[in-house]
């Protein structure tokens, strides 16, 4: 009986993981041979819409000045722009920094949220009614938007079917630790290959809640932000596409972010993503399947995206089954499959990306030295598998016991903060990009 169950588990794991692996190989091949990606900036004569840039900040004194200064230096028409800086229940100097910027730059609107539920979704839900733009762009506080970023992100909204847009996230602290190097490759695979291929194949690129935007009317049509979700961006993406809106991806719109520099922070981050995605899967699967706006392949791909973190426990299930079969010396087919399982499993080298995708992304990015670190992604793979399994166990346990939903946790920042404090990562801290001079103005630091 045990052997039959083990064989069935193994077969299930092999089938699921092979399907995922094939999907990722197709994405990589599609992106690799893509001669001409869709380029929205070629559209001319498009009347630029009024844009509200929402930046939710909870205890972000270390990074708040950088993002606000970056936004006021953008080349978008100031008559059609407002930057909504949300001080979300901060207990540090974030509110003061925002007020200081708002006093100097009329384009910045300061909003202070004193209480209420935690999480980015709740902060956005609070700020959205106060924003006046036709398009709402979102940035996390640790991002460095370039001068033309807003124009690049707004361009796809010339298509009235586009409900949301996503740009490319690029880590700026890449060379800090081994982990940041590995995460940099992982991000490149996710955006340069995964998102671009999905977009060009007519599937759904994911709106990531930062370096992206949503049409205000589209947001309203699906009922606004879901403050209950741990991944409000994923939740919004699939509510939008289920209602017939399209999500555009702009690979050229690159924005720099901080990636976790320590494994503990990384594990917490990926655990949150896993819980959020799985939460969305349970909530949205029926509306995706019933949607008349989505084709068969779009529905299938959407379910693949939302179930992607379930591959980690499925892989572990397969390992346990193959271990049982190893000791009971079950021959031929079973162990043959166990090998196939491992082969498929180890291809999840990045965060749900095969090592083929990591390589393709590194090649296209010209990251010729970093690509040599790719074999070390194996450690990242094991760390992620463990963290995802742990997070999903807690999630399902919580659901069974009815102990409520998991808490949102802020990802740690590594940039040197305003008080000169640094986090003990053993490598010093990333310098701030802008610093406040004696005259009160923010100027670009020489070391930034």
């Amino acid at each position: 009986m045990l052997i039959v169950i083990a064989k069935l588990c193994l077969l299930f794991s092999v089938v699921v993981l092979t399907l995922y692996a094939v999907r990722h190989y197709l994405f990589a091949a599609s992106r690799l041979s893509l001669r001409r990606p869709k380029e929205w900036m070629e559209f001319t004569g498009f009347v630029l819409p009024r844009v509200s840039v929402l930046v939710a900040m909870h205890n972000e004194e270390a990074v708040a000045a950088d993002i606000l200064q970056g936004l006021v230096e953008c080349d978008y028409d100031w008559e059609k722009l407002e930057v909504v800086a949300i001080n979300d229940r901060s207990t540090d100097r974030t509110g003061d920094i925002i007020d200081d910027f708002a006093a100097r730059h009329p384009v910045i609107k300061a909003i202070h949220r004193e209480g209420g539920a935690g999480g980015k979704g709740a902060a956005l839900q609070f700020a959205t009614p106060r924003a006046t733009g036709e398009v709402l762009l979102l940035f996390d506080a640790d991002y460095f938007p370039g001068r033309s970023m807003i124009k690049q992100l707004v361009a796809p909204f010339c298509d009235p079917q586009v409900g949301a847009v996503m740009g490319r996230v690029v880590p700026h602290n890449t060379g800090r630790t081994l982990l940041t190097e590995l995460l940099s490759m992982e991000r490149a695979a996710g955006y340069q290959v995964g998102q671009q291929a999905r977009y060009n194949l007519g599937l759904t690129p994911q709106f990531g809640g930062t370096v992206g935007g949503v049409r205000a009317s589209a947001l309203q049509s699906v009922g606004g932000w879901n403050s209950e979700s741990l991944t409000e961006d994923t939740d919004l993406t699939f509510r939008l596409v289920a209602r017939g809106w399209r999500v555009a991806y702009v690979n050229r719109a690159e924005c720099y972010e901080e990636v976790p520099e320590t494994w503990e922070v990384r594990k917490r981050q990926i655990g949150r993503w896993a819980t959020g995605h799985t939460e969305c899967l349970h909530k949205l699967q029926s509306s995706i399947l019933r949607s008349k706006a989505l084709s068969f392949w779009q529905k299938l791909d959407s379910l693949f995206v939302l179930s992607s973190y379930l591959t980690a426990p499925i892989l572990v299930l397969g390992w346990i089954a193959s271990l049982v079969l190893f000791f009971t010396q079950q021959n031929s087919v079973a162990l043959f499959l166990s090998v196939a399982l491992m082969f498929a499993g180890y291809q999840m080298f990045g965060n749900q990306a095969t090592f083929y995708e990591l390589g393709v992304a590194a090649l296209l990015d010209g990251a010729s030295r970093r690509v040599l670190l790719m074999p070390l992604s194996l450690f990242n793979f094991f760390a992620s598998t463990g963290a995802i399994c742990g997070a999903l166990l807690r999630f399902y346990f919580g659901k069974l016991r009815g102990t409520g939903r998991p808490r949102w946790q802020k990802t740690r920042r590594y940039r040197e903060n305003g008080n000169g404090n640094t986090f003990g990562n053993g490598h010093g801290a990333t310098p701030r990009l802008y610093s406040q001079g004696a005259n009160g103005l923010y100027t670009r630091s020489s070391n930034g």
């Binding site: 009971t328 162990l335 491992m342 180890y346 390589g359 590194a362 670190l373 074999p375």
Partner: protein, 249 residues
């Protein structure tokens, strides 16, 4: 004056995959697979010779050669026979080895933060193996059984590898000959590397029974195959990337 070559922004880059190139890659992969099928028996014989040589070199007594059936469609293949310690019958030895291995893994776990998850998994495998040795002595198996499990996995790798090489190494190299070279090297390396790892596993089983068998099967088995494939892929890509950078049209 217009520049002869403007390197496109990374968001616009692509590696053109034309049909002749894809067909050539498939042809090479098919040719390699066919060669493996035709040379399967000599390959297994050579693999066995390599294992035997390594076992002799390390002073592990080989009691003979067994012919094992991997799959019904393939003739029996030779594998070395080595006496495997019945570690369950020697509790003191069993617990000493187990404790030493656990201490080593715990120390590595403490010192290498990025390897903690992998090491935790290995500790679990070690504990499971200990449980099997203590509570299920029927699960004991010899070197021939282990080699059978091993070779089944390796056979799959040998057949799959040409196709991985075709898509990863041949298609992406600016010069096809270089891609073919990479594919051949990775195939040959995979063959020799398999024999070395199998000899190591059998050698360890000779001294410690099946205590480390699942751990070694896990780490030195298909995982090691994937790792070397990724190493080849990453080095190949680095070469490719450098060569693409220097091309002007």
């Amino acid at each position: 004056m217009r520049r002869l070559f403007i390197y496109p922004h990374r968001s616009l880059r692509a590696v053109p995959l034309n049909w002749p190139r894809c067909a050539l890659s498939a042809l090479i992969a098919g040719g390699l697979t066919l060669a493996i099928v035709r040379l399967l028996q000599p390959l297994f014989a050579l693999h066995n010779q390599l294992c035997l040589g390594l076992l002799h070199l390390s002073g592990i007594p080989v009691t003979g050669i067994a012919l094992v059936q991997l799959f019904a469609a393939i003739q029996p293949v030779p594998v070395p026979l080595v006496a495997v310690t019945q570690i369950g019958a020697r509790p003191l030895e069993l617990w000493s080895i187990f404790a030493a291995a656990m201490l080593l893994l715990l120390e590595l776990h403490r010192r290498i933060p990025f390897a903690r998850s992998l090491l935790s998994f290995l500790m679990v495998l070690l504990i499971v193996a200990l449980g099997v040795v203590i509570f299920d002595s029927a699960a004991q198996f010899g070197s021939a059984e282990f080699a059978t499990i091993w070779l089944r996995g390796e056979l799959l790798i040998w057949f799959v590898l040409p196709w991985f090489s075709a898509s990863m190494l041949i298609l992406m190299q600016p010069a096809t000959v270089l891609g073919i070279g990479w594919a051949l090297i990775s195939q040959i390396y995979g063959f020799f590397w398999s024999a070395i790892r199998l000899a190591l596993c059998i050698g360890v089983m000779h001294y410690t029974g099946i205590l480390f068998a699942p751990m070694f099967w896990f780490v030195l088995g298909v995982m090691a195959d994937v790792v070397y494939l990724v190493v080849f892929y990453s080095v190949g890509l680095q070469w490719t990337s450098r060569r693409w950078d220097t091309r002007t049209n």
